[in-house]
């Protein structure tokens, strides 16, 4: 009995060790599906719709990567993660990539051994309060009770903001956005703080969004982007350049509607290189030559994803702002496809 248990353990451990050594790309291709970590539910960024299909801006990135790698945007297993579980899930290999409003910071990149593959949303931390409190500035929040998701950079920014302005506050730690919403609406906290985009998304789901104001102060830089584990640079490249392809596609005017037509060949060499009718950029990454066509047709280019999920015509109503193309005065700037 003892021996068989032992042998079993050895066998399982050996298998686990064997799996860990294969490259992420091979693993994903063998599995036939991408394991993508997302939030537990933040409307507009990642949330299951009425049919149980995951939808949203971050989800769009996952689907684009799945389309580029496997040719099928629906070949994604979405793994909901909380602020506390996301890094463990990625480090342990439970997920292949994380697209979960995660802020790119030095320590996460260097010390936690992750690799950020770009920024898909430039954000900053804001505060939301009920209108009836009559607060018009974050500097009036001395003594307030603040709902805060634990294990996030917002938690640290919050502490710094109140300390540097010589104010006190009472943190109410919560795990998920849904929990925060419930606590905030019940009045268990006066203020909810998270990334401004998250606040807008949360407010859009309220019964009466006009009864809540988002304060003008943005207290931090929060560049949000997808990330992968350190050490597998080929996989990191795939995720990075898929995101870049979405951004470049918007700049070059490639949309989900015209991508098939443009893929046949155009007189713009950069479009030709990217869409595979000239050279073999896909082959250099170990993908098929139509990887970018697949990624763009999955959910459209960056601009289409933005407008459909969180743009001004959605209930969330976020303006492009910093997230406009560099040609429009924003920060989005994809390196050339060459």
């Amino acid at each position: 009995m003892k021996k068989s248990v032992l042998l079993g353990t050895l066998a399982v451990a050996g298998l686990a060790a064997g799996v860990a050594s294969a490259s992420t790309l091979e693993e994903v291709q063998a599995r036939g599906a991408l394991n993508c970590g997302v939030t537990t539910g933040l409307v507009g960024f990642a949330a299951p719709d009425a049919n149980g299909e995951w939808d949203g801006f971050d989800v769009g990135v996952c689907r684009a990567v799945a389309a580029a790698v496997l040719g099928d945007p629906s070949a994604v297993n979405f793994v909901p993660t909380t602020g506390q579980t996301r890094f463990t899930a990625l480090a342990s290999g439970e997920i292949d990539m994380l697209a979960r409003n995660t802020t790119w910071t030095f320590s996460r990149d260097v010390d936690l051994r992750f690799e950020f593959t770009g920024v898909n949303y430039y954000d900053g931390q804001g505060f939301m309060v009920p209108r009836e409190l009559g607060v018009s500035s974050a500097m009036e929040l001395d003594g307030a009770t603040v709902c805060i998701q634990t294990g996030t950079t917002t938690e640290l920014n919050l502490a710094d903001f109140f300390a540097s302005n010589n104010m006190s506050y009472e943190p109410v730690p919560i795990e998920t956005n849904a929990e925060a919403q419930q606590q905030y609406l019940a009045g268990a906290c006066d203020v909810y703080t998270t990334d401004a985009s998250g606040l807008a998304a949360t407010r859009a789901t309220f019964e009466d969004p006009t009864a809540h104001v988002i304060l003008p102060e943005i207290i931090s830089k929060e560049p949000l982007g997808p990330l992968v584990r350190h050490g597998d640079n080929e996989w990191g490249d795939i995720v990075r350049w898929t995101l870049n392809a979405l951004i470049a596609a918007e700049e070059l005017g490639i949309t989900s509607a015209n991508v098939a037509e443009l893929a046949a060949g155009t007189n713009n060499p950069e479009i030709n290189r990217m869409l595979g009718s000239e050279g073999d950029l896909g082959g250099m990454m170990g993908l098929s030559s139509d990887w970018a066509v697949n990624a763009i047709s999955a959910g459209g280019n960056y601009g289409e994803l933005f407008e459909r999920n969180i743009g001004e015509n959605t209930p969330i109503g976020l303006a492009r702002g910093l997230n406009a193309q560099w040609t429009d005065g924003g920060l989005l700037y994809s390196p050339p496809f060459r």
């Binding site: 463990t88 320590s107 001395d142 634990t150 943190p171 730690p173 009045g187 268990a188």
Partner: protein, 487 residues
């Protein structure tokens, strides 16, 4: 024998292999094994802290805050669970049909539904069914405080008055300690006398008298002596003889220097009454207070009259004025009651909803198990014991206390230890309601911010192991003292 040696070797090999596997996997991930993170700045805040802690403290200190929070809820839980369990266990044996059935419903209901559901249910009731602090505001508020305006039940927790020690508290404590010693001596004397002569002295009334009378006398005497003392308020700038309200009107959110005592509490009460948060900087001496006023760290100070006399006019370049209002010096022991100021209730002690939900759920759940243990213990004492005691003429209460319970305890204690251990370990469900126990600080935020999963989890496991062994050790000592002694 050979098989045992082989098995031992195999097990040792397996452990070696597991260890090696961890080390090589960590190396592959490029991670080292290092506890240095415990001494780096944590950067996050914790709402419930039993010791001094801020976001400038270390991760180690954050872990300590969490450890104390875990121990607090475990101790509170064990105490309440024992009380509930004993009551329910005894009542379940009651001859009254309704009482016995009710207890059956309690026991079966709580021990057959998962603990997590109870925690979340109690928390949801606490946050959804109670008023927000802002409902207490206004001339005709939706909610009001209870028990002579001393307790506020809100959806952020229950605010209760907190005791504050003032001048003369030391004397009060000495008198109280002496009273306790006198009670102990008297009971000893009464016990000896009863054994010698059979006379029963009125132990309870005398004890109660000794417990209360001397302390109360000293308290009132001391209060009468000092309670009329008034401490002056010194402000920087403003008008000579202004009231506190006028001063606050001119200086929004003034920072206040004071040597912590009851006068500070009285000042805070006055401030909150005019809707101002009390932002008090503690100083340790008159000299330090003078320095703070001079440097502008605080603009208002409360101090004894003699200190005020020396300070007036001694500050260079600072226009120090005496306000027209004075503050009571206070009593040896005072209660600071919660008041609405700013966004929230301030002053007093806040029992957060997370603590209450966790505490009650753990107690009710474990209490149901303890009730069954107590019932089993009582049923284990044979009926003959009760009958024999009655035959000797013992009253029912004495029969219970002197005959039944001491014997039942021998059966009750060992399973009770396991229940205490269960409760302690179950307290790690705190994360469900955001209670900042060690699982949430060290095992949650710290691990997340530093990425030290292995180290954090090992420390967490070690802590629960040590705590459980400690509880078990202490309870075993108690068990040895009550168990059947063979002579």
């Amino acid at each position: 024998m050979t098989i045992q040696v082989v098995a031992l070797l195999l097990i040792a090999l397996a452990f070696y292999w597991l260890g090696h596997n961890i080390v090589s996997n960590l190396r592959q991930l490029g991670k080292d094994f290092d506890f240095g993170f415990l001494w780096s700045r944590s950067g996050y805040d914790i709402n419930q802290r039993l010791i001094e802690y801020s976001n400038n403290s270390t991760h180690g200190r954050a872990a300590l805050v969490g450890i104390l929070n875990t121990m607090l809820v475990a101790a509170l839980g064990c105490a309440l669970a024992t009380i509930l369990g004993v009551i329910a266990g005894v009542l379940r044996l009651s001859k009254n049909w309704i009482v016995a059935r009710l207890m059956t419903v309690y026991v079966e209901g709580f021990r057959n539904i998962p603990l997590l559901l109870w925690i979340i249910l109690i928390f949801a009731i606490m946050t959804e069914a109670t008023p927000q602090p802002r409902d207490f505001r206004g001339d005709n508020p939706d909610a009001s405080m209870i028990l002579f305006d001393s307790v506020a039940v809100t959806n952020r927790g229950i605010f209760i008055p907190s005791p504050v020690w003032g001048d003369g508290a030391g004397l009060l404590l000495i008198v109280f300690a002496l009273s306790l010693a006198a009670i102990w001596a008297f009971r000893r004397y009464a016990h000896k006398r009863q054994e010698a002569t059979g006379d029963i002295l009125p132990v309870f009334p005398v004890s109660l008298g000794l417990f209360l009378v001397p302390t109360l006398l000293v308290y009132f005497a001391f209060s009468a002596a000092i309670s009329r003392d008034q401490y002056p308020l010194m402000g920087v700038g403003g008008q000579q003889g202004a009231t506190l309200e006028q001063f606050v009107e001119e200086n929004r959110n003034p920072s206040i220097c004071a040597i912590p005592d009851t006068a500070v509490v009285n000042l805070s009460t006055e401030l909150r009454a005019i809707g101002q948060r009390a932002d008090i900087v503690s100083v340790s001496s008159a000299a330090q207070m003078q320095e703070s006023l001079q440097s502008g760290d605080c603009v208002l100070a409360v101090m004894p009259p003699d200190v005020a006399a020396t300070m007036a006019g001694s500050l260079d370049g600072v226009d120090l004025v005496t306000l027209g209002q004075t503050i009571d010096r206070g009593r040896p022991l005072q209660f600071e009651r919660p008041q609405l100021a700013g966004f929230n209730f301030e002053g007093g002690i806040q029992l957060r909803n997370s603590l209450i939900a966790l505490w009650f759920a753990l107690s009710l759940y474990t209490g149901a198990f303890i009730a069954e243990i107590v019932r089993a213990g009582i049923l284990a004492v044979s009926r003959g014991q009760t009958e024999a005691a009655f035959a000797l003429g013992l009253q029912p209460s004495r029969t219970m206390n002197l005959v039944i319970l001491p014997q039942a305890l021998r059966v009750i204690i060992p399973p009770l230890i396991s229940q205490y251990l269960n409760l302690t370990k179950n307290s790690s469900l705190a994360i469900a309601v955001g209670y900042m126990d060690v699982r949430s600080t060290l095992g949650g935020i710290t691990i997340n911010q530093t990425g030290r999963e292995l180290e954090g989890m090992l420390l967490l496991g070690l802590f629960y192991l040590v705590l459980s062994l400690l509880i078990s050790g202490v309870m075993n000592i108690y068990n040895t003292s009550v168990k059947l002694k063979e002579r």
